[in-house]
Structures are given as structure tokens and as C-alpha cells.
Amino acid sequence: MDKIRRKRERLEMIFDILNIIRQHHNSIKPTPLLRHSNLSSQSFSEYFNELLEKGFIKEITDENGKKFITLTDNGFKYLEKYKLILGFIEEFEL
């Protein structure tokens, strides 16, 4: 049962991180994102890299050289479909 909990947690954590970015008007610096996510810096770094790799988020740098994180179309799609994804997993007991 541990494995399923971990898998579910992973999907939930991805949702939480993406949701934090959306709630901050789709633009947040990495440090506040880490603080809001309530994760250890190591776990956050793993999720962050995964989200970048999957193309759910992207890093942008403004004219002052400050880094911001924003959602991509895929990130918005994940947020939009999250409840359906969970419903599907529940329905088919996957």
C-alpha cells in the first residue's frame, strides 16, 4: 500500500505546486514557491526538475535578472484535468 500512497502523493504534490503558481497570478520566485510547498529543499528540487522536464512549468528571467516560475499550457491542462485523473484512477482502481 506504500507504493500507491507514494504515487498518489506524487500526483497530489504536482497539483499543489502548480496550484501555488496559479494562485500567485502565474508568476512566483523559486524561494517563495519552496516555502509555500512545505517540502524539504531536496524533495522540492526533485519535483521542480520533474515539472521542468515534463514541461509543466518554465523559468523566465525579467529585465532585472530575477528568475520567475510560470505555468505552461501543459501545466494549466494538468490543473484542469486533475480531478478527472483522480476520478479515473479511483474508478478503475489503478
Binding site: K7, L84, I85
Partner: protein, 242 residues
């Protein structure tokens, strides 16, 4: 001297054939029903596979992967089941030595059918149990089992053994479904649908063993039940993949 069966049929028809109703080894109705059934099931299987692509691409969730692979493999297995059935009818009707000789050496549609259907059954079973088992290299393992079962079918050149091995896999699926039912204490209608779907897949292999067994009317009833079962699965998938 080699006398082909069409020649015997011709002689038979010329002598006493006028007393009998028209006789076809390829029954057009049977062929049309089989073709229609195959097209419907293959279409639904592939629809399930493609409808779940987006949620799999977004999550890369293992359970979804095994679930959708099940229907991809079943779709392919149904195509080769039909080809096997069709080749059997052609061989019986036209006594084509070419088909007979080729399939005697290598029963190609039966091998591919056995391979894909075994992969489908294993994927479906694993989609239920993957959370509790940590099996490494599942793809490799499933392929090895599927090749082994297909290999056994080649050696015996009979669908009997394919039916028997898949029945064993079905029993394994039932045991797993019962085990998780007792664990979760939650009645899952879905496990019953899965088990019935697999059961009817195996029953639908019977015409490959002996033509017109079970009788045609019963085969139609089995086909309708199979379509209804996969229809229920599709309906449930469509509900969550709008």
C-alpha cells in the same frame, strides 16, 4: 490420387445434392457476424487506448499505462483472432493447399493472437496488482511469458493449449481480484466485469478449435455479451476522459 474436397462436393452435389439445401462451408452470415463483431470490439478497444492517452501523457502513471496497454493488445489480438478464423474457413472451403501448408508449418495468426492476448491478460491483471507488487522489468517478463505461450502453441499447433494457458491466467486474475477484494473489503463491480470480459475472450476462442462450436446462435449471444462488457468499460473511461 489426390482428390480435393471441392471435387468431392461437386460429385456429391451432382448425385444427391439436389435433395439437400444449398451448402456453404463459408457461411456468409457467420462471416459477416464475425467481421462485424471484430470491427466493433477492435474499434472500442482502440478508442479506450486513444482516449486515455492524454491523462497518461500528463501523469505517466504506471497503472494507467498497464490499463491502456491492455486494450491496445486486446484490439490487436481480436484482429488476429479474426484472421485465424478466416484462414480456417478459407482452408476448409477451398481446400487451399497453400494455406494448409503454410499454417501447418507456422500457424501465424494463432501465434500473434496468442502473443497479444497473453500480453493483454497480463497487463490487465497487473493493472490491478501493481500497487502491491514491485516487479522489475515487467515489459520484459510479460513478453517472455507471451512468447513462451505462443511457442507452446506453435509446438502443438493447436488453439487448445492457448485456451488452456489463458484459462490458467484467468484463474490467476480471479484469485488476485478475490485477494484484493478481501483486503479492501470493498465490493468492486469492475473486477467482475474484467473477469467476465476475459472469460468471454476465452470462450470466443472456441470456434478456432472446432468450427460451429458452440452453435452459431450461442456464439452470437456470447458476442453480444462481450460487446456489452467492453461497452461498459468504454462508458466508464469516457466519463473521465472528456
Amino acid at each position: 490420387m489426390y482428390i480435393s474436397s471441392p471435387l468431392i462436393l461437386l460429385m456429391f452435389r451432382e448425385n444427391i445434392g439436389h435433395m439437400l439445401p444449398p451448402f456453404f462451408l463459408i457461411d456468409p452470415t457467420e462471416l459477416a457476424v464475425e467481421l462485424g463483431y471484430t470491427l466493433i470490439v477492435v474499434f472500442i478497444c482502440f478508442m479506450i487506448y486513444f482516449k486515455t492517452r492524454e491523462i497518461y501523457d500528463l501523469t505517466k502513471y504506471e497503472g494507467i499505462n498497464y490499463f491502456r496497454n491492455t486494450f491496445l493488445f486486446f484490439g490487436l489480438a481480436y484482429i488476429f483472432r479474426f484472421l485465424d478464423f478466416f484462414s480456417m474457413l478459407v482452408t476448409l472451403t477451398f481446400d487451399t493447399r497453400l494455406f494448409m501448408d503454410i499454417f501447418r508449418i507456422l500457424p501465424f495468426p494463432l501465434i500473434i493472437n496468442g502473443y497479444f492476448s497473453t500480453l493483454a491478460i497480463l497487463s490487465l491483471t497487473y493493472s490491478i496488482i501493481w500497487k502491491n507488487f514491485n516487479i522489475r522489468h515487467t515489459l520484459l517478463l510479460f513478453n517472455a511469458i507471451a512468447i513462451l505461450i505462443s511457442g507452446i502453441t506453435v509446438i502443438w499447433r493447436s488453439p487448445y493449449l492457448l485456451i488452456l494457458t489463458q484459462a490458467v491466467l484467468l484463474v490467476f486474475t480471479i484469485i488476485m481480484a478475490c485477494y484484493f477484494y478481501t483486503q479492501s473489503r470493498k465490493f468492486s463491480q469492475l473486477y467482475i466485469i474484467y473477469v467476465l470480459f476475459l472469460l468471454f475472450w476465452i470462450v470466443n476462442l472456441l470456434p478456432l478449435v472446432r468450427q460451429r462450436f458452440p452453435p452459431f446462435e450461442i456464439q452470437i449471444a456470447f458476442h453480444i455479451i462481450s460487446i456489452a462488457l467492453i461497452g461498459i468499460i468504454y462508458y466508464k473511461v469516457a466519463k473521465w476522459t472528456k
